[in-house]
Symmetry: C2
Amino acid sequence: MTKITIDKNAFPYPMPMVLVGTLVNERPNFMAVGWVARVNFGPPMIAVALGKPHYTNSGIHASGAFSVNIPGIDLMEKVDYCGIVSGRMEDKSTLFKVITGKETGTPMIDDCPLCMECKVVSVVDLPTNELFIGEIAGAYANADCCADGIPEIEKIRPFMLSMPDNRLWEVGDNVGKAWSIGMNLKRQG
Amino acid sequence: MTKITIDKNAFPYPMPMVLVGTLVNERPNFMAVGWVARVNFGPPMIAVALGKPHYTNSGIHASGAFSVNIPGIDLMEKVDYCGIVSGRMEDKSTLFKVITGKETGTPMIDDCPLCMECKVVSVVDLPTNELFIGEIAGAYANADCCADGIPEIEKIRPFMLSMPDNRLWEVGDNVGKAWSIGMNLKRQG
């Protein structure tokens, strides 16, 4: 092996930065999260992994719902603020224009170009984190970010987090077509 | 609400493209995956969500281990090829220089600048996918991608996938420091 062993918690890769919304004690609350992934195709599900001490967790448990809001890079400071301060200490409900998911009643952020409201289908209890798996009950986008009803990433302008360096990154150039460019190798094979 | 309702499976955001490795029928196999996230801080765990029909799933069940390999953009065609062809039909073990994780015996890809070998701790059975949660048993990086023993994302040069448009993206500019730039708002508050 030509590699060196590194700290098992210190592998940087680009994580999408999202805002997870939920009602906590009847007030909308939002938390910045990079530990997020799609987890099921049909029906569509998405999962977020939150450290157990977070204020958000109690709200998701109580309401059975959460939202995943994809912010554009113009919201970067506010998103970061939502990752620094806890809803226990400060009211984050007035930072954004809050809208309510019609399927779940969970708060979403109109300032974010892309929002999904999710019903909790499973909670995986891990040692330091809870993994909330949500079925997407509704998905919404700004009309001016869409072409033929499908949102376009270059109009959404999401950004990413890398850890442990805690740097934020914008999406760069489109460098290829997935499930296509590899066909060159298949033809050679 | 100023938003339009969109298809619940059609929300593009940047997903890191990784190669998931495992032994299947005693042969190393690699699959391209964008549905991946960190899920636990201590001990470090990562999860991958794979469609149930995939060849890889049987190998992870049988071996109890998988690897997550972060490819650089120079491997983009090979990664895409691993997303197009199934190990049932074609031998993908010769595409890369394969190395073996010393903790789990699972195959990893030396060509990738960053590799993690994982022991399965939980499998969540979802309707169309299985979510494999792995504890990171070992993490390895190319020495020339590291500074002070920590890998740097601009040297790893990972790339991302967006769906449903199936486009590949490179990481763009570093636009801010996380858990820091939001302090400006806190001071104003």
